[in-house]
């Protein structure tokens, strides 16, 4: 599991955008698109090279007060997102 004070950076090779026709957030990259589910979209929106993992969880809890266990979801998603290179951590 990642360190909760680590700060994820959004990989500028991707673009995050709300798509009306898809009714969800999408990540755009050369000749491709991935649709993000509701939670994933909200998390990615907060990945900006300033917010730590801790902070992201905190902000989400404010937004969705009954989001118990959100901590695990955030951590799980961030691991997948790093694998897919949507975000990175400074070494």
């Amino acid at each position: 599991m990642s360190n909760q004070t680590d700060i994820p950076h959004f990989n500028p090779m991707f673009r995050l955008q709300w798509e009306q026709a898809q009714d969800c957030y999408v990540l755009l990259f050369p000749e491709g698109m991935v649709k993000l589910n509701g939670a994933a979209g909200e998390i990615m929106k907060l990945v900006n090279g300033k917010n730590s993992i801790e902070k992201i969880t905190e902000l989400l809890l404010k937004q969705f007060p009954d989001g118990q266990g959100i901590n695990d979801d955030v951590n799980e998603f961030l691991i997948v997102a790093a694998e897919k290179k949507w975000l990175y951590y400074e070494q």
Partner: protein
């Protein structure tokens, strides 16, 4: 309309704007029509802007500018800006000829998201012989460096054929050196000029197996770093066809330089009357036009596809390939081993081992020249 069309039809997610058939290169694998027509009926800037606006309103999200060579259009910056302002992800698909550092910067300002550069080989000798133009490699190399230096994501596209597939290791090294993000190692698809030259281009099975082995070995050494390599084999060596364009008129919409709307960029060869954006809106074309509905769903399918349990997977293959090889666009793609025409593929493979006649190089007027690559020692 087909009954199974009731399945919800999505928007044309991918819009390919072929701005012009004109091109400074002469690749013998070019998939542009061999009858290029003249360039006088190209869409105007206003007409293109209208197409982009209409497609975006339907939910199109990826926008590719290609050709020919899209850089030959003076209004490219303007079209990029319009596309980006509408919210498209904008891709420039170029040979690199006509790029300058300044133009790369100007396109970035206009909102261009990504640049894809095609290469014809890993060194100047092979590259320039295939492209039919001196100094092409040098230019591409410099521009690829500049594209990355200016912060773009970059895709490199190497079109593989008999003449250069043995260079694949060097191609991968070059891609790392140029810091590409994605690299398509794609054997030519046999449409347009490439179909005419197929016997000269189609690599042998041994060449392909060896190339694939080298790609896998290289990937293992990468340990998740460097470019992502995508190896595309020619479907001639498969027993099942490609799911062409993700299904006819399901995802892709191509607009040809003269405004013809096509479900795929080679569809113009088919004996169908395709609509033109000069006369109809993108919405009407996508949702209502006869030619777009023609191969949607599966009620058009012949046997063996009709009763095949794989028809949801490959949709019976490519209509253009069926037409080119059998003369009947409704037939099962001959690539499929269940097709009664599969022997045509076997024959093509055998023929490619011993090509007759000369390779012809794409020309941008109406005369055909013999290519230099015919003289490369294999």
């Amino acid at each position: 309309m087909n009954s199974d069309n009731d399945k919800k039809l999505g928007p044309p997610l991918w819009l390919l704007a072929e701005l012009t058939y004109d091109c400074p290169l002469h690749c013998p694998y070019c998939s542009n029509p061999t009858d290029l027509g003249d360039f006088s009926d190209e869409l105007t800037t206003e007409q293109w802007c209208k197409v982009l606006t209409e497609a975006r309103a339907m939910g199109a999200v990826q926008l590719g500018f290609s050709g020919g060579e899209p850089l030959l259009r003076k209004d490219l910056d303007q079209l990029v800006k319009h596309g980006r302002d509408l919210g498209f992800y904008t891709n420039l698909i170029t040979s690199g000829i006509g790029l300058t550092e300044k133009r790369i910067a100007k396109l970035k300002q206009a909102g261009l998201d990504h640049i894809q550069i095609s290469f014809q080989g890993a060194d100047p000798e092979i590259n320039d012989a295939i492209a039919g133009r001196g100094k092409a490699f040098e230019q591409k190399f410099k521009m690829a460096k500049s594209v990355k230096a200016q912060g773009y994501p970059m895709v490199l596209n190497f079109v593989l054929s008999k003449q250069n597939i043995d260079q694949i290791e060097a191609v991968m090294e070059l891609s790392c050196q140029l810091k590409a993000d994605y690299v398509e190692l794609a054997t030519a698809q046999y449409y347009g000029w490439a179909y005419t030259n197929r016997d000269h281009l189609l690599p042998s099975q041994e060449q392909l197996v060896e190339a694939e082995r080298q790609v896998n070995q290289f990937r293992d050494r990468q340990q998740g770093k460097g470019p992502q390599f995508i190896f595309v084999t020619p479907d001639y060596y498969e027993t099942r066809p490609k799911a062409c364009m993700n299904g006819w008129a399901s995802t892709f919409l191509t607009i040809a330089p003269d405004g013809s709307a096509l479900p795929c960029h080679s569809a113009k060869m088919l004996p169908l009357k395709f609509p033109n954006v000069k006369d109809k809106s993108v919405n009407d074309i996508w949702l209502q036009d006869f030619s777009f509905n023609r191969f949607r769903g599966d009620s058009w399918m012949p046997q063996p596809c009709q009763s095949c349990d794989e028809k949801e997977k490959d949709f019976g293959g490519c209509r253009c390939q069926a037409f080119m090889m059998t003369g009947d666009m409704d037939k099962t793609d001959p690539v499929c081993s269940k097709s009664p025409d599969h022997h045509l593929i076997t024959k093509a493979i055998a023929q490619a081992l011993n090509p007759q006649g000369k390779i012809v190089q794409r020309v941008n007027q109406r005369k055909i020249v013999e290519a230099d690559i015919a003289r490369i020692k294999l």
